[in-house]
Amino acid sequence: MSAPDDDVLLRLDGVVKHFPIRTGVFAGRSAGQVHAVDGVDLTVRRGETLGLVGETGCGKSTLARCITRLHDLTSGTVLFDGVDISRLSRRQLIPYRREMQMIFQDPFGSLNPHRRVGSIIGDPFAIHGIADGLLRRQRVRELMEKVGLNPEHYNRFPAEFSGGQRQRIGVARALALRPKLIVCDEPVSALDVSIQAQIINLLAELQDEFGLTYLFIAHDLSVVRHVSDRVAVMYLGKVVEVAPAEELFERPRHPYTVALLSAASVADPDVADRRERILLAGDVPSPVNPPSGCRFHPRCPKAQSRCEVEAPELVARVADTDDHPTACHFPVEPTDDLARAAVVPMRRATLFPGEQQRQ
């Protein structure tokens, strides 16, 4: 894509991750492959937030784990800061692990319940042998303060914290080594609305302060729109559209993106009443036997015979700029009926809405 190389922090080229399905008593026979991630090209620029959206099973979490090398890749390369980390051994990976960290969805499952919070947050220092003893304690306290936890709670156990506070612990742990990239896998999905906003604000403030780059995975489109500079949409292991956030929401090109936008609920009764919906038929097909050609074609309202045969490439289509590629033979035009259904999933401002805005 268009970004110059030194601007790019992370570049994925043809990333593939297949999981073998094994059957039989000794799990020896392979009965096929789950095509979890099936050829993803993506770049993440320094200091930006790239939102990654898609439904359950589209491969977004698997992709995140490929990037951080929690999974080994089946094929493809991951260039982090100009270095191919996709074939590095565990030992060789250690310096890069300092620079990329993860925040997970479940603030209950991602913290060891038997360990004190201070030592959980101090783990990165211990693993990488950075700060010891009193100095480590000092650093951990600073981190706790930074993420809005009371440093006096250093010796408490995770169970003594609420969901939102636990997510803050996860953020502190990710922040400890001053990484360049933080992969946030559904960081606010498990939290209540009022707490969600606290964590989203915290992530924004930390990004400003430390110049962090985020890969932000979520399924809540209004949250993604709020946090992202650019957004990538995934469907069945492939990226189907990438665009600057505002453009993706205002002028989506892939029919799946349109369907996703039109399905999102909006906390605004008038918008909810007026909008048209595209209800996709059926369910997401199995990633074991993905459909031929374009994977979306069995559910796509615009599908033609070409879509069954030829998989579309992720490239900028006619009338689009380079930073807005779409993997579709027949992208949605602004004049299409379909385009009207892509109502922006965004509540109107509450600060000074005024009556005239409501018609």
Partner: protein, 359 residues
């Protein structure tokens, strides 16, 4: 004559740590064919309230009354309740996988439900089951009726649960977070199904959700719960556009809005969301006075002393709110905000001068 009229419902659970005041006196009513949306965060008591109506909260101390078709649900014997539960009032739960028995065919489970409430033979029940599966939009119901739950996708399972709930033609359907476990496009399908069924069958619906978007789409009337109390009751548009209670205002403000997105693009301070500070209180040790006061930006001296009753707010007849702010301070416009702050300033004792060493 209201279909269901609940007044002063209170539910508490004695535990070894103390009494958990899950629901602390809520009243609401619903008419045939209407939808009541109950919205609140985890622990606000919305599910407990619904379960208690059907006698599904064992071990709880229950007070109040719930008049339904001439009888008080809360005073009925188990045998009487069995005649109503499933038959007259049915329920759909959040997690369709754990609500279906994995060892029995989906069709068999629905047939059993029909035969429990109707004096019909196996063949008639099966015919009705196939008809119901078709009604809720399951393709090829003749074949799918013999599937096991694991052969259904998440969306199909929830459709099957809805079919089961409708099996005995209930007049009231209680849906407790029916789409929370589902993806956005599947959620849109299920909400659409519920609306269609309601239109065709005239069933009244109580929709419980933490998602303000879902409630904005579904509800005629909205009841906002906080710490076991109804803090605001209003018709849908009033709740979203002219809310009175600071908690409702706070919930709406916590969500990403067009204003926050615009602020983000301009780098303005409005790019940050405005979360409700702090966390929901413990239901064992509730704060004095109004349970929301520790998180309320408008809290006045009086709020610490006396819990405000649910009283009329200006504007709409049915609009009620449990807050000491002036009843005409509704909405999110600057005029309402000014009204609120004028009262708040006079309602607060001036803060004592700061002492040298803060704790």
């Amino acid at each position: 004559m209201r279909l269901l009229d609940v007044s002063d419902l209170a539910v508490s659970f004695p535990t070894s740590d103390g009494v958990v005041h899950a629901v602390r006196g809520i009243s609401f009513a619903i008419d045939p064919g209407r939808t009541l949306g109950i919205v609140g965060e985890s622990g606000s008591g919305k599910s407990v309230a619904a379960l208690t109506l059907l006698g599904l909260s064992p071990g709880a101390d229950v007070f109040g009354s719930a008049m339904f078709e001439g009888g008080n649900l809360l005073a009925m014997s188990d045998a009487e309740l069995r005649g109503i539960r499933g038959a007259r009032i049915a329920m759909v739960f959040q997690d369709p996988l754990s609500s279906l028995h994995p060892h029995y065919r989906v069709g068999w489970q629905i047939e059993e439900m029909i035969r429990a409430h109707r004096d019909v033979g196996r063949h008639a029940a099966r015919r009705r089951t196939i008809e119901l599966l078709g009604l809720v939009g399951i393709a090829q119901p003749h074949q799918r009726v013999d599937d096991y739950p694991h052969q259904f996708s998440g969306g199909m399972r929830q459709r099957a649960m809805i079919a089961m709930a409708l099996a005995a033609d209930p007049v009231l359907l209680i849906a407790d977070e029916p789409t929370t476990a589902l993806d956005a496009t599947v959620q849109a399908q299920i909400l659409d199904l519920l609306r269609r069924l309601q239109r065709e069958l005239g069933t009244a619906l109580i929709m419980i959700s933490h998602d303000l978007g879902v409630i904005a789409e579904m509800a005629d009337e909205v009841l906002v719960m906080y710490a076991g109390r109804a803090v605001e009751v209003a018709d849908r548009r009033t709740a979203y556009y002219r809310p009175h209670h600071p908690y409702t205002l706070g919930l709406l403000d916590s969500m990403p809005s067009s204003l926050a997105v615009a602020g983000r693009l301009d780098g303005a301070s409005t790019r940050l969301l405005r979360p409700i500070p702090g966390q929901p209180p413990s239901l064992i040790n509730l704060p004095s006075g109004c349970a929301f006061h520790p998180r309320c930006r408008y809290a006045m001296d009086h709020c610490l002393v006396e819990d405000p009753p649910l009283r009329r707010a200006a504007g709409w007849l049915t609009h009620r709110s449990a807050c000491w702010l002036p009843s005409d301070a509704v909405g999110v416009d600057p005029i309402a905000e000014t009204k609120r702050w004028t009262v708040v300033k006079s309602g607060r004792t001036p803060a004592p001068p700061p002492t040298g060493s803060a704790a």
